[in-house]
Amino acid sequence: MATAVEDRAETAPRFAPLLGRFALAGVVAGAASGLWALVVTERAIAPALALEEARGSGHDHGHEELVSRSTQLVGGFLGTVFAAVVFSVVVAAVYAAVRHRLPGRTDAGRAAVLAAIGFGVFALLPAVKMPANPPAVGDPGTVGTRTAIYIAVLGAGVVTALLVSAMVGTLRARGLHPSAVAAAGVLATVALVAATVLLVPDNPDAIGADVPAAVVWDFRLASLGQLAVLWTTLGLTAGYLVDRLARRG
């Protein structure tokens, strides 16, 4: 039973099988958040589309016939799955690179930590700086500017995560008390998030007077919930699968 002892010792999985586990978790996370999209987010999109119709011309998308509404529902689901799989492939590479530095004694714990950081960078920070807008909000003329702002916010989030984790690692290596390290980490995060919110330009679009606040906020919360389902499912599922992989050796 020599192998039984080895099984208990933690081994580093090779990258290829790790990537496979993450990609599978990405499909599961995409399906879960895609279902959320169909059941919750689409219900928040419907009144916004009704507003667009009521305006008559709408925007460029108004020439609906290119893709029917029901096809767009399918696209909403598949697009969410696709995004989740893309995230899972990126997170797999990052996870493998930083696994030995992540807090947590098991892969399940470490994957949950990394997924929480991913949610913070790719969902929570954009939601604070540049909340999602439903159809009926958005000036086609500013889409380039808004895309640049969105990418700048994501970049600032990645830089924040890297700087804070580097700082926490350095302070911990110097033997600082864990509570002092945690306090320093929180302060640095708050400072960098505040700098991002203050320094990155705001979304230039005004919300039309004909768009009720409830339509906008129902949509924003549904969108944030969808991303929360995506990242939670990704972290927990990948953690479970990679944990089993690592234990198997």
Partner: protein, 66 residues
């Protein structure tokens, strides 16, 4: 518990990340950019169709749209 065992339970061994993994991650992000952000600038007319097809996903994932 010996110190060797102690170390092993505290820090996980590092994993070697092959270069192709980063290339794949970048490619995946670029593909997501194409279906999510692009208004047909790169994919031309096929972009219009993809843009409309993924319209709801783009909105619901919080990405800028039209």
């Amino acid at each position: 518990m010996t110190s060797a065992q102690h170390t092993r339970t505290r820090t996980a061994p590092a994993i070697a990340v092959p270069a192709w993994a980063w290339a794949l991650a970048l490619l995946a992000l670029f593909a997501l950019y194409l279906v999510a952000q692009d208004d047909g600038a790169v994919l031309a007319s096929a972009g219009d169709l993809a843009h409309e097809f993924f319209h709801d996903a783009r909105h619901s994932l919080g990405m800028p749209c039209h």
